[in-house]
């Protein structure tokens, strides 16, 4: 060091007496997010849970309706049916897509991924609107089919369960692809080549080697798509046209139109509990942080 250098001030003067815990500063960084999340997010949701057992009267009266009200049961049935169908179709399409992407060259992978991620980020409203344009009675699909002379009367393609499933699968396929692709990327493609080299057919190699190795990704994708579908609002509302009611729209109806807070809060609670239970059951297979790209 330059011998004539002046004495440097210490970075921070040692302070005697009390000292904060070593990590206090780092914990303080969590504070803004934690406070915001508690006051603006968790508190209102806890209030929903509370309303479900306090309005109109204290008790489990609202939950009793799960067993007594045909209307409530029908909504739950419709929701579960549509969610199950959506999940199965989204998984089938997504699996084939993820399989092809995983085996593609890195360059081709980028293009495939673009095709999967682009729709993911385009407004769900825009997508639902596009489907309405295509599928309604005077829509482009019916016009086209009529123009070709294939049908005489326009088909009912939207404002029913069919329309909802078409729109929901469209929304969910990217969410199905991502976790499956993550799992498939871990599989060494040489294993498939080795299986073929050992005499397995293409189908055997797939069924005995690739499918079992990609199963965790398949389960994770299924869980993700199912829980996203359970509380989905916009697409079912637009493509269902108010005729087919799923849970989210029914909740909205109870609260905004009928002002039956207790019932709306009850079904909302049921949906949340169903989602958290599904996650808990599959928590071993579904690494949430990895699912959402949280890294390592």
């Amino acid at each position: 060091m330059p011998p004539d250098a002046v004495a440097l001030p210490a970075a921070a003067a040692p302070r005697a007496g009390w000292a904060l815990p070593r990590d206090a500063g780092w914990w303080a960084l969590l504070l803004p997010a934690f406070l915001l999340m508690s006051v603006i997010y968790v508190a209102p949701i806890l209030q929903v849970l509370a309303i479900s057992v306090t309005e109109p009267t204290t008790g489990l009266g609202n939950y009793e309706r799960l067993f007594t009200s045909i209307g409530v049961q029908r909504v739950i049935g419709t929701t579960l049916r549509i969610c199950a169908v959506t999940t199965v179709i989204a998984l089938l399409l997504g699996y084939a897509l993820a399989y092809v992407v995983a085996l593609a060259s890195p360059r081709a992978q980028r293009w495939w991924l673009l095709g999967v991620l682009l729709p993911l980020w385009i407004s769900v409203l825009v997508r639902a609107f596009a489907w309405v344009t295509l599928l309604r009675r005077q829509g482009l699909v019916n016009q086209g089919l009529q123009g070709l002379g294939l049908i005489d009367e326009p088909l009912a393609l939207v404002w029913n369960e069919f329309g909802i499933v078409v729109g929901m699968v469209h929304y969910m396929v990217p969410y199905a692809v991502l976790p499956m692709l993550a799992a498939m990327r871990e599989i060494d493609p040489r294993l498939l080549a080795a299986a073929r080299g050992l005499g397995a057919s293409r189908l055997m190699a797939f069924a005995r080697v690739f499918l079992p190795l990609s199963a965790p990704g398949l389960v994770a994708a299924g869980v993700l798509v199912f829980i996203f579908s359970l509380g989905f609002y916009i697409t079912p509302a637009i493509l269902g046209g108010g005729k087919t009611l799923m849970a989210a729209e029914w909740i909205k109806l109870q609260i905004l139109d009928l002002v039956r807070w207790g019932m709306g809060a009850m079904l909302a609670t049921v949906v949340v509990v169903a989602i958290l239970t599904t996650l808990a059951v599959f928590s071993r297979v579904v690494n949430l942080r990895r699912l959402f790209g949280g890294g390592h």
Binding site: V48, W131, I227, A268
Partner: protein, 261 residues
């Protein structure tokens, strides 16, 4: 994986069909938006931009766009500040307890918007935040936090923790370490998070259906009313503009990622 083992023809055809199913229906709004008709249809005699002109000449549409933009900007600011600090804190402390904090931050991705929306409707009623710019901005900001936490955590996973030790060891305070060492290194991750948080707010509808009515009328809300009331080609024009905007933001994100590598 690499291209050593090609996928079979069945898988390839399903994959192609799926991608077309994902992309084509969205592109239908482009020809519809330039139709010369007054109703939703493909152009018949030629293309016309009058629906774009209608849109951009409409004060109510422009007002909604403006409002959405400011709300998205404000909520992005909230999400980025809170999310980045939280991700850094969790990363540095790295105990099991921070796993819980991180799980808490991911809740808005898991719990359906409708549940949060009805809760917020009541909650903001008591706080007098209904139908106010601040209320919507706060709600969008909080629900944007997970996107930032995820992208910043990913960026931090690639950050050498010894750099932070080195900075502290040389006498840097926590603030100086953040400003001069950590933040510059994870800036691309923060930018990605900001872009996603912005898109989230810009597209968000369910919350505004409940906590906003007349004073705050965002673009998605206006589109929602348009779809439910008058399906006319100007809706297609809005849709095209939204798609262009989203694609531009994603391209920006892609460019930032490319620069990082």
């Amino acid at each position: 994986m690499n291209g050593g083992y090609p996928a079979g023809p069945l898988a390839r055809s399903i994959a192609w069909a799926t991608v077309l199913y994902l992309l084509l229906p969205i592109t239908i709004v482009i020809p519809v938006s330039v139709t010369d008709q007054r109703y939703l249809s493909l152009p018949e005699h030629g293309i016309s931009f009058r629906h774009y002109a209608n849109l951009l000449g409409s004060e109510s549409w422009l007002a909604s766009i403006q409002q959405s933009f400011w709300i998205a900007l404000g909520s992005t600011l909230i999400a980025v500040t809170a999310g980045t600090l939280c991700a850094i804190g969790c990363w540095r402390i790295g105990r099991r307890s921070t796993e819980l904090v991180r799980a808490l931050m991911l809740l808005p991705l898991i719990i359906p918007a409708i549940v949060y929306a009805i809760g917020l409707y009541r909650w903001f009623g008591t706080l007098d935040l209904l139908d106010r710019f601040l209320g919507v901005t706060l709600a969008h900001g909080v629900t944007g936090i997970p996107y930032v936490v995820i992208t910043v955590s990913t960026a931090l996973a690639a950050f050498d923790p010894r750099l932070e030790q080195a900075a502290r060891g040389m006498g840097a305070s926590l603030g100086q370490t953040l400003r001069w060492v950590i933040l510059p290194r994870i800036a691309p991750g923060i930018a990605s998070g900001a872009i996603f948080a912005f898109i989230h707010s810009w597209d968000e509808l369910v919350l505004v259906l409940f906590i906003a009515s007349r004073n705050v009328f965002t673009l998605p809300r206006k589109i929602w009313d348009g779809i439910n009331e008058n399906l006319d080609p100007s809706m297609a024009a809005v849709a095209v503009l939204l798609i262009v905007f989203t694609v531009a933001l994603l391209a920006l994100d892609g460019a930032l990622r490319a620069r990082r590598q």
